[in-house]
Each structure stands twice: as structure tokens, then as C-alpha cells.
């Protein structure tokens, strides 16, 4: 019994310590991000890898999400004879919730996993040690530019996801199911307020931070071997998803 308790205790302690380390990593990365000199070239490069490279998958998933919302929204709204509210229902759903969350998932899969793998490989091949030995802080050099880039790229990707999604729902609702085009947009105009756009923006920025934080941390501390890198990649994706959903709950509760 005592053994069992001590095992639970040790397990809890080691997890608490790991969480603490992760949090310290975030703090130092953030502190270094806003300390000059800013690495403009690196930031631009990472905006490209986060933003441009994820663009196609974000557009594609946004389009199909929108079309599905067109069908599902139409189906439920018709029960109340409220098909004309399709535009506003879709826009609110996308702007407030689905746009930020789903585009964050896409970026995690497309770019976050690549970040973890890249940093994990750099750890395994001693490149991170090499940076330390050249008196260059690897967090400042590798993690900070990615964090800034994700804070910039993530809301832009989310905005694209939202617009494409609204257009997708329009195609299904107006094109296929015969909702009137005028009521689609006027309903949207009358019910969407700036707060909806704003809360989506806040969400996407914080999701961008979560993705780079979790994926860079996992890669940075990957055990130095091939299996360590693959394990870090998997863990970074799963953990990012969980963090995004949990954080989304709290943000929604606060900002509703």
C-alpha cells in the first residue's frame, strides 16, 4: 500500500516538474522574443513555413467545412422555418469557433509536427549543442522567431479559413438548396458584431502560441535518437490538440 502511494506520488511529482519546465520554456522564449535584436529574416522565413505552406490545406478544409455547415445549418434551421438565417448561423459558427480551432488543427498537423521533427533532429545531431557552444542562445535563435511568426500567421490563416468557409456555405445554401442570396448576406450583416470577429482573432493568436510552444518544446527536449524524434512529433501533435481544446473552452467561457 505504501509502495503504491509512493509510486503515485512520484508519478505526480515528475509530471508536475515536467509541466513546470514546459512553462519556464514558454516564459524564456517569450521574453527572448521581445528582446532586440529581432531576427527579421528568420521571422519572415517562418511566416512562410507556417503561413504559406499551410495555406492550401487551410483553404481546402475551410471550403469543405463551410459546405458541410451549409447542409447541416439548412437542415436544422428548416425545422424552425428559419432558412434565411443560414448566413448568420454559418458566419457566427465559423468566426467564433470553427475557424480558429480547425485552422489551428491544420497548422498543427502541417507545420507543428514539422517543427517538432526539425528541432528533435537538431537535438539528436548536436546542432543545438553547437549553437550553445557558439555562445548563441538556441531558444532565441530557433524558438523565438517561430513564436513571432505564428502570432502573425495564425490569425491571417484563420481569416482565410473563415472567408472560404462562408463562401462554401453560400455555394451549398444558395446554389444547391435555394436560400435567397440577399437574406444570406443581410442576415449575416445584422447579427455578426465586431466582438465575434475579435473573439475569433484572440483565439487564433493564442492557438498559434500554443502550437509553437508545445511543438518547439517537444522537439527541443526530444531524446537524442531516431525514435525520440518520432515520439516527440506524435506527442507534440496530440498535446497541441488537447491544449487547444481546453484553452478554447476557457476562452469561450470568459468571452461569451
Amino acid at each position: 500500500m505504501l509502495l503504491f502511494l509512493s509510486r503515485i506520488g512520484r508519478y505526480t511529482l515528475s509530471h508536475l516538474a515536467a509541466m513546470g519546465r514546459m512553462f519556464l520554456f514558454l516564459l524564456s522564449a517569450l521574453a527572448l522574443s521581445f528582446r532586440p535584436p529581432a531576427k527579421i529574416r528568420l521571422i519572415l522565413y517562418h511566416i512562410k513555413t507556417i503561413g504559406v505552406d499551410s495555406l492550401s490545406v487551410v483553404v481546402l478544409s475551410g471550403f469543405f467545412t463551410g459546405m458541410v455547415m451549409g447542409f447541416q445549418g439548412y437542415y436544422s434551421l428548416r425545422k424552425f422555418n428559419a432558412e434565411s438565417w443560414l448566413g448568420s448561423a454559418t458566419a457566427l459558427g465559423l468566426l467564433r469557433e470553427l475557424g480558429p480551432v480547425l485552422s489551428a488543427f491544420m497548422v498543427t498537423g502541417r507545420t507543428g509536427s514539422a517543427m517538432a521533427a526539425e528541432l528533435g533532429t537538431m537535438r539528436a545531431t548536436e546542432q543545438i549543442d553547437a549553437l550553445y557552444s557558439m555562445a548563441i542562445n538556441p531558444i532565441k535563435y530557433l524558438v523565438s522567431p517561430r513564436i513571432i511568426a505564428s502570432l502573425i500567421a495564425m490569425p491571417l490563416l484563420t481569416a482565410i479559413f473563415d472567408v472560404v468557409g462562408i463562401y462554401g456555405a453560400y455555394l451549398v445554401g444558395v446554389g444547391l438548396l435555394g436560400v435567397s442570396s440577399g437574406s444570406y448576406f443581410s442576415g449575416m450583416e445584422s447579427s455578426v458584431v465586431f466582438h465575434d470577429v475579435y473573439s475569433g482573432l484572440i483565439k487564433s493568436v493564442s492557438f498559434g502560441l500554443i502550437i509553437t510552444w508545445v511543438c518547439c518544446y517537444k522537439g527541443f527536449h526530444a531524446p537524442p535518437m531516431a525514435t525520440g524524434v518520432s515520439q516527440a512529433t506524435t506527442e507534440s501533435v496530440v498535446l497541441s490538440f488537447v491544449f487547444i481544446l481546453v484553452w478554447d473552452y476557457f476562452l469561450t467561457a470568459i468571452m461569451l
Binding site: 545531431t125 546542432q127 553547437a130 550553445y132 555562445a135 535563435y141
Partner: protein, 248 residues
């Protein structure tokens, strides 16, 4: 002068260093030999605090680097050049940019001067005209030489070489050895070499130490080391499986 005092390091429950004591004389080359996996790389990484010991001290000019704060630590590391066992070139950039990297990041050298210096270093290691290639496009030996060029580009006071000639053909190994000696004579750095290339590496070493069973079993000027009656030294030099060094 670098002094290592009573250094202990373990990973999990594997004890790698069990009380290492040794000195590296300023301006001389000290070579560390030992069987594969005995902890030479681990020891080397303690010298510029890439690893911190469980117990013990590393004194660089009588400053204990295991106790330094972040800022002082980075300053101290700037005095070191390191050639890693696997070269550890940054694979997102070309060889030229790799060698230029510390100059660009740490100094205000103008781009023309950087170009001049990097090309000079690349030529010294026999890589002239290869600067445009990426690390992934080079052979193991070429990577090692590029890593050497990067380690020397800042004219460091102390240079750590982790197996500079392993995986190179004998001709190239000799030329790398000559390069180490030549640059050492020019710049007067303190050299620490980890190597398996015996007996050739003895020709460039002022001192030789053998790491076995987690401690330094012997540290002597090269001539005396080679004729040392210590059974550990003799077993290692002759490559015998029977003796005081525990092999698998």
C-alpha cells in the same frame, strides 16, 4: 589552464564519469583516448558546460564554470571553439554560411572581411569552392572538415576536437592532424583532442590522457605515456581484450 576536479556524471542509473581529475596545460595539445562509449564526449562537453556535472568542478583560469550565471556562461563559451563528433553543421544553411555563422552572429565584421576569412578557412581544410553546398550534400569527411573550419573561424583560445579524424582516410587524417598543429602554432590555442587514431595522434599531442572505468587512469607527456608501464595504457595501445579495462 583548465582543471577538472572530481567530476561525476551519470545518466539514469548509468555512471559514466566517476571522479575525473585532470589538467589541460595552456597553449598545449592534450589528447584523451579511451574505448568507445567510455565517456570521452561526455567529459568534453563538461569543459564548456554543455553538460553540467552531478558533482565536481571545472575550472577555466580558476573560474568555476559549473557555477556561472547565464550571461557569464555565454561569454565563457565564446572563448571556445568546438568540433563535434558528427560535425553538427546547421543543415538549413550552406557550408559557407555555416562557417560564417559565428562571425555574423557574434561580431560586427563586415561582409567582405567575413567572405575573406571564411574562404581562407575553407581553403585551409581543403574545401575551397565547396562553400555553396549544403551539409547533406557532403561526405562525412567533408562535413568534419567544414566543422573544423567553423570551430577555428573565431580564433578561439581553447579548441575542443571530438574525434577530428575518425572516418577519414589515412592521408586526410594526416593532413587534418597537420592542420591542427599548424593552426595551433599560429594561434597558440589550448587544444583538447579526443581521438581513436593511434599512434598517429601522438605525433601532434603534447600530453595524452586515458579515460577508462570512469576515471583518468593516466595523464603524461606523450613520450612517457607511450612507454608507461601502467597496464591500462599498455592494454589500450596494444588493443587487447584481456586486462584492467572492462569491455563488454
Amino acid at each position: 589552464m583548465i582543471r577538472v576536479v572530481d567530476l561525476y556524471k551519470s545518466f539514469g542509473n548509468q555512471q559514466v564519469l566517476k571522479g575525473v581529475n585532470m589538467e589541460f596545460v595552456t597553449g598545449k595539445i592534450t589528447t584523451i583516448v579511451g574505448t568507445s562509449g567510455c565517456g570521452k564526449t561526455v567529459l568534453l562537453k563538461h569543459l564548456n558546460a554543455l553538460l553540467l556535472p552531478d558533482r565536481g568542478h571545472v575550472l577555466v583560469d580558476s573560474v568555476d564554470i559549473t557555477q556561472l550565471r547565464q550571461k557569464e556562461l555565454y561569454e565563457m563559451r565564446g572563448r571556445f571553439g568546438v568540433l563535434f563528433q558528427g560535425a553538427a553543421l546547421l543543415d538549413s544553411m550552406t557550408i559557407f554560411d555555416n562557417v560564417a555563422f559565428p562571425l555574423r552572429e557574434k561580431t560586427k565584421t563586415s561582409e567582405t572581411q567575413i567572405r575573406h576569412k571564411v574562404e581562407e578557412r575553407l581553403e585551409q581544410v581543403g574545401l575551397e569552392g565547396m562553400g555553396y553546398k549544403y551539409p547533406a550534400e557532403l561526405s562525412g569527411g567533408m562535413k568534419k572538415r567544414a566543422g573544423l573550419a567553423r570551430a577555428l573561424v573565431m580564433d578561439p583560445e581553447i579548441v575542443l576536437f571530438d574525434e577530428p579524424t575518425t572516418g577519414l582516410d589515412p592521408v586526410l587524417a594526416t593532413s587534418i592532424h597537420q592542420l591542427i598543429v599548424r593552426t595551433q602554432q599560429t594561434f597558440g590555442f589550448t587544444g583538447v583532442v579526443v581521438s581513436h587514431t593511434i599512434p598517429q595522434v601522438f605525433e601532434i599531442s603534447d600530453y595524452v590522457a586515458i579515460l577508462a572505468n570512469g576515471i583518468i587512469e593516466e595523464l603524461k607527456p606523450t613520450k612517457e605515456f607511450q612507454s608507461s608501464p601502467n597496464p591500462v595504457v599498455q592494454q589500450f595501445i596494444r588493443g587487447e581484450t584481456e586486462g584492467p579495462i572492462q569491455v563488454l
